[in-house]
């Protein structure tokens, strides 16, 4: 099957023509690894390290002579040098630089032996990899690498710890050289580190190959990029053997490497050998063999290959022939390319859980297992294998995101920004030297740096670090508290929306969630109008109605089953929130004296959640314990106030149609009362002010009076005093959040209002004849009865300027896939001067991106609309572009909690928590233990609050809450198994409208007997019962 000839396959490494720039890539064969190969590797590493010599000499400065004397006194023995220096004035960077230079120049005259014996002395000053003491300066990094190499050479074997040290030192050198803009030298060092890969741990191989790729991309040498890509593929193929979830990375990396081989024949041969070895190990890459073959010069291709012209056409995005010729080639490669796409999808499917969709607090995004590598297009949604569930699940997750686009989500976002700001302060001030700024992209790329571990007793700086670390931990935990407090309500609302918000029951308006659903199918209104013989507006209305009918059908046929699962198998997650929502709706129906429909109720609930929860947020700077109590109390009060909303307010909002005379009019809620907000612009300004306030409040955490000493129960008087002093000193820190300026907030919120629905990387072609862009996109992961993926070939003309810009990008990058994404605009509806929709309505757009180039098409019910609002274009680009600041924001405040992990490591590394204040000893151990506890809580993200029981009690009363909270539906299932389905059908139907059915009397009695009073007969039919106290305002 593997057809490509490789001249050196399986043989010893190529002769040592040591051009360390790009030639030092070595294919290993474990079998028969011998002394000469070991020497080859060591020599290669030494030559890369020699590239640091100039900088090391510059380090020596004026103290050269003194150190040379020292060197003579120690007779060149590194251990002795370090000992004497430590005794007589300290080991400095200059001394290490001299030691490095001497060792490099005298390696073969015995210094490697001496160095190998000096490990304890070196360890005392240059910590081993993975420890806080691992060097962050070039002299230390070189010495660490040299020590590792010396141990390898003197030991005569690739002893893992020694190799690890050598590779880590080389990689650190590469990072430092990169910071100094010496990209070629950095690349040489990291390639040498990668040559040691077979003996390294996977994490180290990953970081080294990743760094090499970044350096190659920054350096701009095509051949270096080929090398780096090949090395990355090697690593990823091995990693995917351990973790199949990484197959998609290996697949994409192989494809990118195989598309473009080095121009130089020798280099090409080495890269080819790497890629062929990968092909042998990974059968899922075999379909890409023609890509590799087509990239070879014709005279290097093996005999007997099929005609490669179609494969070349498939993988070269630039087509200079006629469009007719391209279509002919497309016929030839079409079948193979679909196979490749299916193989890539299979690889991607290994990477993710396929049973759940979700929404992400950190960036207001959603994920759906059927949409991670697919972009709905045209009418493809209608071909979805499980369309009903697809629509309901998508509606559920979109509801979550809309819920976040409000008070709670904005607060959570602002807290994350404040957390990032605090983390940057910690990483900047307290990291291992050199002290340098740690902007967000550094946090993202290099991780959060280890902190300086005090040796001996604590210093005042360590105490300040303790205080600032506690700030970061408190904020991280408070974010978890806020989200955990509101999650049951969010889930309850989303489940209610799924089961009860039948859009066909509200003829006049629709919810924002429904707006997104309306636009899932691409239809041109003008064309529809012509086809149906109606006005365009009527055609749009009819098209919306069709989608609503479809959603309604899904909800009515699957809603009850889904509800059953939520309330039975996932009761702890959904039950309390759903029943609280139902109790509120029951209270509203009673207040109105009329049966409010589920669709209307859902609109009001979602509106109140978004625009009525600002008064339900505690001061974000409160100490953790107080914050937790206040967050829960205010949330419960908010639900209670909402249940007691006045009938007039509910009537006004439930069927509200925007007043053309007052287009900017918006509504908000204060303590459960509907308020008119002045206008759109004023609201936008108010939002910015709120975000700034949230950021400011968060930064006040544990400063001055917000740092009560009682939080550390076992702190003695001295410890408490120190805590007070540090809390006061934190008051001097900047009060205003740096990262939340008005402009930053505006762009951050605007960006978040673009919701990516589906994304994929699709093959594409630029056909110069007619300036066409052709793109093969996967529209669904499983369509039709067979559940096979479905593909559409899009072909459309680009404006000439846009075409040429893309062509230039293709020339530079050479990749044959572009990112294609379908997004929805979640902004408030805004019309342009002509009355056409400019923003919002959940309108869908398809975005094509390649490097810096992008192109946007309006889809959904706006398909065919030419112009896209400039602000919308900006927001889409901002949302989809890689942005290290936003990445860092999501990462620092995300589930990995890197700051908490780092804090925990630091706390555990400090051996003695005694602070010596001029003879007065203070034990800060209790305070440190408090930090440790919070760090563990953040890392484990164990539920910080259990708001569910309180919510149930408030909504349903004590009797039902106690049994439901403890046992769920189990008592009913045990006593009357067939009634569980009846109950969930009742809950499902009554969510849309109270149920008129006398036969429910008996069910209500059995439910009351086993679960408590959950059903109530109302003047309009059977509905969910609510606690007597709910729905009455306490003035």
């Amino acid at each position: 099957m593997l057809l490509l000839p490789v001249s050196h396959a399986g043989s010893a490494p190529p002769p040592a023509r040591m051009d360390p720039m790009a030639e030092n890539i070595i294919a290993h064969s474990f079998a028969g690894f011998d002394e000469s190969q070991l020497q080859f590797l060591v020599t290669d590493c030494l030559m890369s390290l020699m590239r640091c010599a100039g900088r090391l000499e510059a380090e020596l400065a004026d103290r050269d002579d003194g150190y040379r004397t020292l060197l003579q006194r120690a007779r060149g023995d590194p251990a002795l040098v370090l000992d004497i220096a430590a005794r007589e004035g300290g080991v400095t960077g200059e001394l290490l630089a001299l030691l490095d230079l001497v060792t490099l120049h005298s390696w073969h005259r015995g210094l490697s032996i001496l160095l190998a014996d000096a490990r304890p002395a070196v360890d005392a000053h240059v910590g081993p990899p993975g420890t806080a003491g691992f060097p962050r300066t070039l002299p230390g990094a070189v010495l660490s690498a040299l020590l590792g190499l010396a141990e390898v050479q003197e030991g005569g074997s690739m002893e893992p710890a020694a190799v690890h040290r050598a590779a880590a030192g080389l990689e650190r050198c590469a990072e430092l050289l990169r910071d100094d803009d010496a990209l070629d030298d950095a690349f040489a060092c990291v390639l040498s580190a990668i040559n040691l890969a077979p003996w390294l741990r996977p994490a180290q191989r990953e970081s080294a190959t990743g760094l090499a790729l970044e350096l190659a991309e920054e350096g701009g040498s095509p051949d270096n990029l080929c090398f780096a890509r090949a090395r990355r593929v090697e690593f990823l193929v091995a990693a995917a053997e351990e973790d199949p979830g990484r197959r998609i990375e290996a697949f994409d990396a192989f494809e990118a490497a195989a598309c473009r081989l080095p121009a130089d024949a020798d280099r090409r041969r080495v890269v080819l050998r790497c890629l062929q070895a990968c092909l042998e190990r990974a059968p899922y890459l075999h379909l890409l063999l023609p890509v590799l073959a087509a990239a070879l010069p014709p005279d290097e291709r093996p005999d007997g290959l099929p005609d490669l012209a179609p494969y070349q056409a498939a993988t070269n995005p630039l087509w200079e022939g006629s469009s007719a010729e391209w279509l002919q080639q497309r016929q030839a490669f079409g079948g193979w390319l679909v196979q490749v796409e299916n193989a890539r999808l299979d690889a991607a499917r290994q990477a993710r859980a396929r049973h759940a969709a979700g929404a992400v607090w950190a960036d207001w995004s959603i994920f759906h297992p059927g949409l991670r590598e697919a972009v709905p297009h045209g009418t493809s949604v209608l071909r979805e294998r499980d369309l009903q569930n697809f629509l309901l699940v998508l509606g559920h997750e979109v509801t979550h995101v809309f819920s976040m686009v409000g008070a709670v989500g904005v607060a959570s976002l602002a807290m994350r920004w404040a957390l990032l700001e605090l983390e940057i302060t910690v990483a900047t001030v307290y990291r291992e030297p050199p002290y340098q700024l740690a902007p967000p992209d550094v946090l993202r790329l290099k991780g959060i740096a280890p902190l300086r571990v005090p040796r001996g007793g604590l210093e005042w700086l360590d105490v300040l670090l303790l205080a600032e670390l506690e700030q970061t931990l408190e904020v991280a935990r408070k974010i978890q508290v806020l989200e955990a407090t509101w999650s049951p309500w969010f889930e309850g609302l989303a489940v209610f929306g799924e089961a009860a918000a039948d859009p066909t029951m509200n003829a006049l308006t629709y919810s924002p969630t429904t707006g997104v659903i309306h636009h899932l199918v691409d239809r041109q209104p003008a064309q529809l109008a012509q086809e149906w013989g109606v006005e365009v507006a009527a055609a749009v209305r009819r098209a919306r109605d069709e989608l609503e009918q479809m959603y309604s059908g899904a909800l009515r046929s699957s809603g009850a089953y889904r509800l059953r699962t939520y309330l039975d198998q996932y009761a702890p997650k959904y039950q309390a929130g759903y029943l609280a929502v139902r109790a509120v709706v029951s209270a509203w129906r009673a207040a109105l004296g009329e049966p409010l429909s589920g669709a209307e109720a859902f609109q009001v609930l979602l509106h109140a959640t978004r625009f009525g929860a600002y008064d339900a947020l505690p001061h974000l700077g409160l100490p953790l314990e107080e914050f937790t109590g206040a967050a829960v109390r205010l949330h419960l009060e908010w639900v209670s106030n909402l249940a007691a909303a006045a009938a007039g307010d509910l009537r006004r909002l439930a069927g509200y149609i925007p007043d053309p005379e007052r287009p900017g009019l918006r509504f908000g809620w204060v303590k459960g009362k509907l308020m008119e907000d002045s206008d759109e612009d004023a609201i936008a300004e108010e939002t910015v002010r709120l975000v700034e306030r949230f950021g400011r409040e968060t930064l006040q955490s544990l400063r001055g009076p917000l740092a009560p000493v009682w939080r550390v129960a076992d702190a003695d008087e001295r410890c408490a005093h120190i805590m007070e002093v540090t809390a006061s000193s934190l008051l001097n820190a900047r009060a205003e959040p740096r990262m939340l300026s008005a402009d930053a907030v505006h762009s951050m919120i605007s960006r978040q209002l673009i919701l990516p629905i589906g994304r994929t990387r699709a093959p594409f072609w630029l056909i110069r004849d007619g300036h066409f862009l052709a793109c093969l996109i996967r529209t669904m992961e499983s369509s039709g009865e067979a559940g096979a993926p479905s593909y559409d070939l899009l072909i459309f003309p680009l404006p000439e300027e846009s075409f040429e810009e893309l062509a230039r990008e293709v020339e530079a990058r050479g990749e044959y896939r572009m990112e294609v994404a379908r997004v929805a605009d979640l902004a408030d509806i805004r019309l342009d001067g002509s009355g056409a929709l400019a923003r919002g309505d959940g309108r869908n757009l398809i975005v094509f991106r390649y490097g810096e180039w992008s192109y946007v098409q309006v889809r959904g019910l706006g398909t065919g609309a030419g112009q896209v609002d400039e602000s919308l274009l900006d927001d889409i680009r901002a949302r989809l572009a890689e942005n290290p600041v936003f990445d860092a924001h999501a990462w620092v405040g995300g589930a990995q909690a890197p700051g908490a992990r780092r804090a925990l490591e630091w706390i555990d590394a400090v051996e003695d928590w005694t602070l010596d204040l001029s003879g007065l000893e203070v034990d800060l151990g209790p305070w440190a233990r408090r930090l440790r506890d919070v760090a563990v809580q953040v890392l484990e993200n164990d539920p910080p609050v259990r708001v569910e029981d309180e919510l149930l009690r408030m909504a349903l009363g004590d009797a039902a809450a106690a049994r439901l909270g403890q046992h769920g539906l189990a008592p009913l299932a045990q006593a009357y198994p067939l009634d569980v389905a009846k109950l969930t059908r009742f809950l499902d139907a009554s969510g849309r409208m109270p149920v008129q059915d006398d036969a429910l009397d008996a069910l209500a009695a059995r439910v009351a007997e086993t679960l408590g009073p959950l059903m109530a007969r109302t003047p309009h039919g059977w509905d969910v019962a609510r606690a007597e106290t709910l729905g009455h305002r306490e003035e």
Partner: protein
């Protein structure tokens, strides 16, 4: 030796509980929803009817539970059909549950056969056990349901056990 092992209520409920654990939804973290919620809900609703029929059969025997059995079969087939493209998954989970029920019942039955018996002053060790009840394994939910029902409603399983005298 041939003997009859009677099923206890506890063992019956244990078998039902073990079967009910098959095909439950996987855990979901964060603000997430199972994309299989409808499939799982359909399974549970069909299973409700099946368990009701099995319980009735266990308590009151085959004849008195016949109507519930017929209703369970009819409802299950209806639910599978309504599930459309995902009906196969519903079908598969129900099959697994019925097989688990049957296996659990057999295991608990076998566990009641003593490994050694004392007879006439001698000790005898169990060598082989034969179940006279035939376990039918097919791809049909209806057949498997009938089988499970038969196990529940008979409340007893005939067993033939061979013992040999243990060496002194």
């Amino acid at each position: 030796m041939e003997t009859v092992v009677l099923a206890s209520h506890d063992r019956f409920e244990q078998a039902v509980a073990a079967a009910s654990r098959i095909g439950r939804g996987e855990a979901v973290e964060g603000l997430a929803a199972s994309v299989d919620a409808a499939v799982l809900g359909r399974v549970e609703e069909a299973w409700d009817g099946i368990v009701a029929a099995l319980r009735e059969g266990f308590r009151y025997g085959r004849e008195k539970a016949a109507a519930l059995l017929d209703a369970a079969v009819e409802r299950t087939e209806q639910i599978i059909q309504e599930a459309g493209a995902r009906g196969r998954e519903v079908h598969e989970i129900l099959l697994q549950r019925l097989r688990e029920y049957a296996q659990e019942t057999m295991h608990s039955t076998l566990a009641q056969v003593p490994a050694t018996i004392q007879l006439g002053g001698g000790s005898y060790s169990l060598t082989t056990v034969n179940l006279t009840h035939k376990l039918v394994v097919t791809g049909s939910v209806k057949t498997n349901l009938m089988e499970a029902f038969s196990l529940a409603a008979s409340r007893e399983i005939e067993i033939s056990a061979d013992y040999v005298r243990a060496a002194e």
